[in-house]
């Protein structure tokens, strides 16, 4: 036991001093050592001061700032006891100070709401995606997305209700690339046993909590026999501990084919990082587009909420046409996380009621409403519920 804890402290020291340079190797060993201790999904209660919570807000680029302004408007109007600590991240800078500040702020507050930070290709490859840095530094290992058909939105498929749980830190997004010979680039995809077990455990726990019947693992183990083979094996191991939940697996290309023809067959899906990207975007498209679905990134100690498909929306920024639904629903997920359930339900119901009045759809849903009109409608519905509200 003593030896274990001393190795543990050594790895922590290494991580702190050289973690950023040694990168994933250290993190991998770090998590393998710590995984024995923490079996339960324990997230400590977020910071609360004077009855009010403080949440980090990262506006990001594109439509992020305007949508988050609307979120703050709705929160202020509904007298939600949440204060926002705004941290700006400038995507045009090569230095990582901005994102480091944001990460520190999230460590302090425990919870964040963010817009997407743009990744400019014109910068050298050593400048990594800021969003990715945030996820890996805070070890937000589970990305959860709930796609549901909404009655007020016209789509080709009806009755979709899929929860997608995507591994959020490793896989193809490990940022390990090198050009050993000129003209030949190698990109490493890392799959570890501990992370795969962790995400599978998360998926099954969530399925049980929400009363779901089936979990499907999405993979490509017929080609990537060792990598995805390990992922699949871990899922099977975890599945054996949950006999009340059916487990099956499907190859990713067949999955996409099934999703566009019979999406109703899926219940909960768990998968590595890249397939998660593809499947979550396909599902978001099936239920009505990027403007509707909220997403959450959960780690052991932190939670960050954003839109599910993480779009910057540069082409519609500043024109008052973006759909605020996804961001508002994400903020409701955040309120649920902070255990402010009444406020969460109040705002969520207002958003969904507005959605079902077809006249108030934004352009992405084929309507002609502006963002502000939709937000005004939401605030009016909140006011009509009779609870305490600020001035409009």
């Amino acid at each position: 036991m003593a030896a274990h804890s001393s190795v543990l402290s050594v790895s922590r020291i290494i991580n702190r001093l050289w973690g950023r340079h040694l990168g994933n190797t250290v993190k991998v060993f770090g998590t393998t050592l710590t995984s024995h201790r923490n079996k339960t999904l324990h997230v400590p209660l977020p910071a609360k001061y004077g009855g009010r919570h403080t949440v980090t807000l990262i506006p990001g680029d594109g439509i992020g700032p305007e949508l988050l302004t609307h979120v703050r408007e709705v929160f202020r109007f509904s007298c939600v006891p949440v204060d926002f600590e705004v941290v700006h991240v400038n995507s045009a800078l090569e230095a990582e100070d901005d994102i480091d500040n944001a990460i520190t702020a999230i460590r302090r507050n425990g919870v964040a709401l963010k817009g997407n930070i743009e990744t400019k290709h014109t910068m050298p490859p050593s400048v990594k995606s800021r969003n990715n840095l945030l996820r890996t530094s805070l070890d937000l290992y589970a990305n959860v997305m709930h796609c549901q058909s909404l009655p007020g939105v016209q789509t080709r498929h009806r009755n979709i209700d899929i929860m997608i749980i995507r591994e959020n830190t490793e896989g193809e997004y490990s940022n390990l690339e090198h050009e050993s010979v000129s003209g030949v680039v190698e990109s490493l995809k890392i799959i570890t046993r501990s992370n795969s077990l962790r995400i599978a455990e998360y998926a099954f726990q969530l399925a049980r909590e929400k009363g779901r019947r089936k979990v499907t693992a999405v993979h490509k183990a017929n080609i990537m026999k060792l990598g995805d083979g390990l992922f699949l094996q871990c899922c099977r191991e975890v599945a054996s501990g949950y006999p009340d939940i059916t487990f099956d697996s499907m190859i990713v290309d067949n999955t996409t084919m099934q999703l566009v023809s019979k999406p109703q067959q899926f219940d909960v899906m768990v998968m590595p990082n890249l397939y998660g990207n593809i499947v979550s975007n396909v599902c978001a498209g099936l239920v009505g587009g990027p403007g509707l679905v909220p997403g959450a990134n959960y780690g052991r100690d932190y939670a960050v909420f954003e839109t599910a498909t993480r779009n910057t929306g540069k082409s519609v920024a500043g024109k008052n046409v973006a759909n605020p639904t996804a961001m508002l629903l994400a903020s409701c997920m955040m309120l649920d996380h902070l255990k402010l359930y009444n406020y969460a339900n109040l705002i969520r119901n207002a958003v969904l009621t507005t959605m079902n009045e077809t006249r108030l759809h934004t352009a992405d849903l084929g309507g002609q409403g502006t963002t502000s009109e939709v937000v005004q409608s939401i605030m009016r519905i909140i006011q009509s519920k009779g609870q305490l509200t600020a001035d409009m």
């Binding site: 193809e172 050009e179 030949v184 995809k189 080609i223 990537m224 990598g227 290309d253 996409t256």
Partner: protein, 356 residues
């Protein structure tokens, strides 16, 4: 000037092969329902009087000197001579000790581009009615290089390889294809925001090829944006070019949009002018030999081959006959929603072809 020479060379090649009147094509019937759907295609081509002679060959894995797995010598010889192949579904044996046959074929003929034109079929309704796109997938490297290691127990590393040469080749091919098939735009699909160096290299090569083909519109789009938009409005896409893994998934996604693998054609272009067209569905052992199979996928691939050979009028005739039969809905195989046998469906198409 080089383009003129290439065009002239093409003309000469075509006229040389048509001097005898007939062009030879290697036919690989395959396993399961393979033989019956190949027979159906041959029958339809006969009815349409297509100037093709079929050379049937079988593909099984044999072990050559040094223990290296390869395809039978007569099959390779035939393909090298004809440069054109039509292939039915091949069985992938589990634990047979040798790699899959498709992989062997790919390596033998350096089939670097997988092309799948996806077009909505009138008469076979899916929720998506306006699909008309082509996916061009790099088929030799990328995530499927098969290089994997266990670093320490519990940590596995898979290597995705992107080379300048392969990216350049596929990008060139994509623009050539767009030009030869009257397509107006090419979209490169990538994830260069995350995989900065590898997809960055792929993207650079696509941009360079775009510079050389100014008459074709070039755009680049993130993989997730493509997926998102594809299921909402597939009509906005034209030709898509991408590395191996994205191509695998996206081409199957597009096949799903038009109705599945039973109605999707596919072609593989290799180095030295070799082209193998195939049906991408499975061998369906449960219905093999029962005259229940649907030959549409293999037929559409054969039509793709005709266009590749320049036999456009024959291609048009057979394609129209096929689509009209499906639209008519009177004689359809079970998977298309009907009750007829494969032979009846084939006969219906033959009848239409003869009547034209």
């Amino acid at each position: 000037a080089s383009r003129v020479v290439a065009a002239l060379k093409n003309e000469l090649l075509q006229s040389r092969s048509f001097i005898r009147g007939m062009k030879t094509v290697t036919l690989i019937p395959g396993d399961g329902i393979g033989p019956e759907i190949s027979a159906a295609v041959m029958k339809i081509f006969l009815a349409a009087e297509v100037p093709i002679e079929w050379e049937e060959r079988n593909i099984t894995a044999i072990q050559g000197p040094g223990g290296k797995w390869m395809i039978p010598h007569d099959a390779k010889e035939s393909m090298d001579k004809t440069k054109l192949g039509l292939k039915g579904p091949l069985k992938t044996p589990i634990a047979a000790g040798h790699p899959s046959m498709n992989l062997l074929l790919r390596k033998t003929f350096d089939l670097y581009a997988n092309v799948r034109p996806c077009r909505s079929i009138e008469g076979y309704e899916t929720p998506y009615t306006d699909v008309n796109l082509v996916t061009i997938r790099e088929n030799t490297e990328g995530e499927y290089s098969g290089i994997e290691h266990v670093i320490v127990d519990g940590v596995v590393q898979s290597i995705k390889l992107i080379t300048e040469q392969a990216s350049e080749r596929i990008a060139e091919y994509a623009f050539e294809y767009a030009k030869n098939n009257q397509r107006s735009s090419v979209t490169a699909v990538h994830k260069a925001n995350i995989m900065r160096m590898s997809d960055g290299l792929f993207l650079r090569k696509c941009r360079e090829a775009a510079e050389k083909h100014r008459d074709i519109n070039f755009t680049e789009m993130y993989l997730d944006t493509v997926c998102l938009n594809m299921v909402q409005d597939p009509s906005q896409f034209d030709v898509l070019v991408m590395p191996n893994l994205y191509g695998d998934i996206l081409s199957d996604l597009c096949a799903g949009l038009i109705g599945g693998l039973g109605v999707t054609p596919s072609g593989n272009i290799g180095a030295h002018g070799v082209a193998i067209f195939e049906s991408v569905h499975g061998t369906a052992p449960d219905i093999a030999g029962k005259d229940l199979a649907n030959p549409t996928a293999l037929l559409l691939s054969a039509i793709m081959m005709l266009r590749h050979m320049g036999l456009h009028s024959h291609a048009q005739k057979i394609e129209t006959a096929c689509f009209n039969t499906i639209q008519d809905k009177r004689v359809l195989t079970k998977d298309l929603g009907g009750n007829s046998k494969c032979s009846e469906f084939t006969e219906a198409i033959c009848q239409r072809v003869r009547d034209m």
